[in-house]
């Protein structure tokens, strides 16, 4: 009896204290019961092999639990799930661990934030990374911290940048080997962007890649005068990683000021780029710039999807990105070579993408003080919310918006810690924007189906081996669609805008789907 009790205790302890090794992160796709990284796996697919919930039964989904964060604002987290425990972050840099079966909290963490913070777009946080028995979180006051998985206690806390100059973190970190990798926010305030790696054990910074090159560095010549000092190019969405190439793929955001380019002549590298960095050193292997000298706030901060496929008759390592500027790109991820671009909605800022991958700027649409209507608008044809790739259908699922904006543009002096936009944009007052979840052929970019939304979205997509795509609307509907056809299978109204993307996991043989909405996490299961 004693022995049985001891075994039970040991097994129970093992269950709750399982270490998340780097090897487990590498093999995350083979642990569908868990959700171990921001995109579910290093390749960025946001796809699960779980199939208990499928097209035949998704219409029976029912809520299992709800967890109230206790704060208002945009709830943008992607939780992690490890062996029955769900770890998430909330508004104002809250964090929590909850029992993934019952929704009951195990611990809560609330960062003591300074009063004057300047995140551009809400007091948001998109989630944590995990390694061993540590969780890693990047905070609004530009710190990186490690929390103990069992207690939420702070294990280390390091300063990455000065929040008083509007440097902030909203990103969910990515762990690679022993590194905690983060990218800074603040493109609306004239920060100089960077991507950092920290030692998971100690918090010591291992490397930094400045996304705006300084004097003497390649790319510095793409900035007029001293404009590089306040050039923006933040890196606020979690990148992806190819372990075979040991390359980190991390996209960057807009140059600053976002809507006035007069003082920053040149292509403004490495704004709006896909960067391929050596994961050990942070050295740049290659870059591809989607929108040079951007005037419309077209951050390239959309999650890159890594896919090995046959391209023009031969196997190739590809990188796919549905970009905010309205084009779906395919690149060779070994060398950054441009392979194709296809628009997936209305685009007027360019007349097309050339054979070299460079856009042909529509000169008649240059912004001015009076205002020019440009499509897509500043929020993009898509945005940071996650896309999903399903190997079962070969389709990429992308939430899209029809919004076009009226852009104005005028000089603006830089003041540290103040917004630095170079004027403004407003939605087209005549045409109410709508949205859609689109399924694109992952190689050609051809649209296979489109599920219309009444409003433009803020939430992304999750696909599963059950043949289901889950998506969230800004009008509060959480939706399940047939991944092959877009057929509407099920929806539930959650009462508040959805600003994130679902995850799925399994505990004790039951598949869960979890989505944040408003100030709560909602978990759904089959009855």
């Amino acid at each position: 009896m004693k022995r049985a009790l001891l075994m039970t205790l040991l097994l129970g302890t093992t269950l709750l204290q399982a270490q998340v090794s780097y090897e487990r992160l590498l093999g995350a796709a083979h642990e569908p019961q868990n959700w171990l990284t921001y995109s579910g796996r290093y390749s960025g697919w946001r796809y699960s092999t779980l199939d208990q919930i499928n097209i035949a039964n998704a219409s029976h989904l029912a809520m299992q639990w709800a967890f109230q964060v206790g704060d208002l604002g945009q709830f943008e987290t992607t939780p992690l799930v490890v062996d029955g425990v769900l770890y998430g972050t909330g508004q104002n840099d809250r964090a929590f661990a909850i029992d993934a079966r019952s929704g009951r909290p195990i611990w809560r963490y609330q960062r003591n934030l300074p009063e004057k913070l300047q995140p551009c777009c809400g007091m948001v946080n998109r989630g944590m990374a995990i390694l061993g028995d540590r969780l890693f979180m990047a905070t609004l006051d530009a710190h990186v911290i490690a929390l103990d998985t069992k207690s939420g206690n702070v294990l280390w806390d390091v300063t990455a940048a000065d929040y008083r100059k509007a440097y902030t973190f909203t990103v969910a970190p990515l762990v690679v080997k022993n590194e905690v990798i983060v990218g800074i926010s603040g493109g609306e305030y004239g920060v100089r962007g960077f991507i950092d790696a920290y030692d998971a054990a100690t918090g010591k910074r291992l490397w930094r890649f400045e996304t705006v090159p300084g004097p003497g560095e390649p790319g510095h010549e793409t900035w007029k005068g001293d404009s590089w000092r306040t050039g923006g190019a933040p890196a606020w969405i979690t990148g992806t990683y190819d372990p075979d190439l040991n390359l980190l793929y991390w996209p960057t955001g807009n140059p600053a000021p976002s809507n006035y380019g007069g003082e920053r002549g040149g292509n403004n590298l490495y704004s709006n780029c896909m960067l391929a960095l050596d994961a050990d050193t942070g050295k740049l292997k290659w870059y591809f710039q989607f929108t040079p000298h951007d005037l419309y706030d077209y951050d390239a901060t959309q999650i890159p999807i890594l896919l090995d496929a046959t391209w023009e008759g031969r196997p190739r390592k590809l990188l796919l990105q549905a970009n905010r500027n309205g084009f779906f790109y395919v690149l060779d991820r070994i060398n950054g070579k441009f392979l194709s671009a296809k628009s997936f909605g209305k685009v007027t800022w360019t007349t097309g993408i050339g054979a070299d991958g460079k856009p042909v700027v529509n000169a008649s649409l240059k912004t001015n003080a009076e205002g020019t209507r440009v499509c897509p608008g500043a929020l993009g044809l898509t945005n940071w919310y996650a896309p999903s790739y399903s190997p079962d259908t070969g389709l990429l699922y992308v939430a899209t918006s029809t919004e076009c904006d009226l852009f104005t543009s005028s000089p603006q002096p830089y003041r540290a810690g103040h917004d630095f936009l170079g004027s403004v944009y407003v939605p087209d007052p005549v045409e109410r924007p709508t949205g859609a979840l689109k399924a694109l052929d992952a190689l050609s970019g051809a649209e296979k189906w489109s599920f219309p939304y009444f409003s433009n979205p803020n939430g992304g997509a999750l696909s599963t081996a059950g043949g289901v795509v889950f998506a969230g609307e800004s009008d509060g509907n959480f939706i399940a669609l047939d991944a092959k056809t877009g057929r509407d299978l099920w929806h539930v109204q959650l009462g508040a805008a959805i600003y994130s993307t679902a995850i799925t996991f399994q505990v004790e043989g039951k598949q869960y789907v979890v989505i944040p909405a408003g100030a709560a996490l909602f978990a759904f299961v089959l009855p």
Partner: protein
């Protein structure tokens, strides 16, 4: 809108500027508010669709504060050309990047071919909460509808000079100008002679 770290003095300057955009309380309007009240509740039929202090219809925007929130020129434009700028409907406080619905014209076709026209109190991908022109609330599921059409025009008819001459327009605007969210008071001369005074 990005957060900002403006100095207090700068914030005060912005507030002063924003307040300067609000129409002054004692703006001189040459019409007679008492006559305007009669027009509003009588000839022009405004009260058929617009509520003031609990009296009137519910198809159009409530107007009990319209004198404080809209300029005289805006009021005139709205009467003469209601399509020029459609008023906003409900804003979703949870949708930080969303835009409010507007008072446009919504027409639905039901499965049996029946058509209903009205304004949307709310709408999403799956449902529509429609205030029809007969001022009945229609709670509709889109799966039951054949079609939902939005036209960017107001259901309010334009009041040309034939319908409302210049003097009547001045009287009506003078009445609207008194509507500042206070159901009683000296400023609301017009309210003494009709419905609004009962709703205190």
């Amino acid at each position: 809108m990005p957060a900002n770290a403006l100095e207090d003095s700068e914030i005060r300057s912005i507030i002063a500027y924003l307040r300067s955009l609000s129409p002054p309380r004692n703006l001189v309007v040459t019409g007679d508010p008492a006559k305007g009240t009669q027009i509003f509740h009588g000839k022009a039929g405004c009260a058929d669709c617009h509520m003031v202090f609990g009296h009137g219809g519910v198809l159009g925007p409530e107007l009990s504060r319209v004198g404080a929130s809209r300029s005289v020129s805006y009021l005139i434009d709205s009467i003469r050309d209601p399509n020029k700028d459609l008023s906003n409907g409900m804003t979703d406080p949870n949708n930080h990047y969303g835009l409010p619905l507007v008072y446009d014209t919504v027409t639905v076709m039901k499965a049996d071919g029946t058509m209903i026209t009205g304004v949307a109190k709310n709408e999403d991908t799956y449902s529509l909460q429609l205030m029809s022109t007969d001022q009945k609330l229609r709670l509709l599921l889109k799966k039951d509808l054949k079609e939902v059409t939005h036209e960017r025009r107001s259901l309010m008819p334009p009041y040309s000079e034939d319908a409302l001459d210049a003097a009547q327009l001045r009287d009506l605007v003078a009445y609207l100008e008194t509507l500042r969210g206070e159901a009683a008071g000296d400023a609301q001369q017009g309210s003494k002679s009709s419905g609004p005074k009962e709703a205190q």
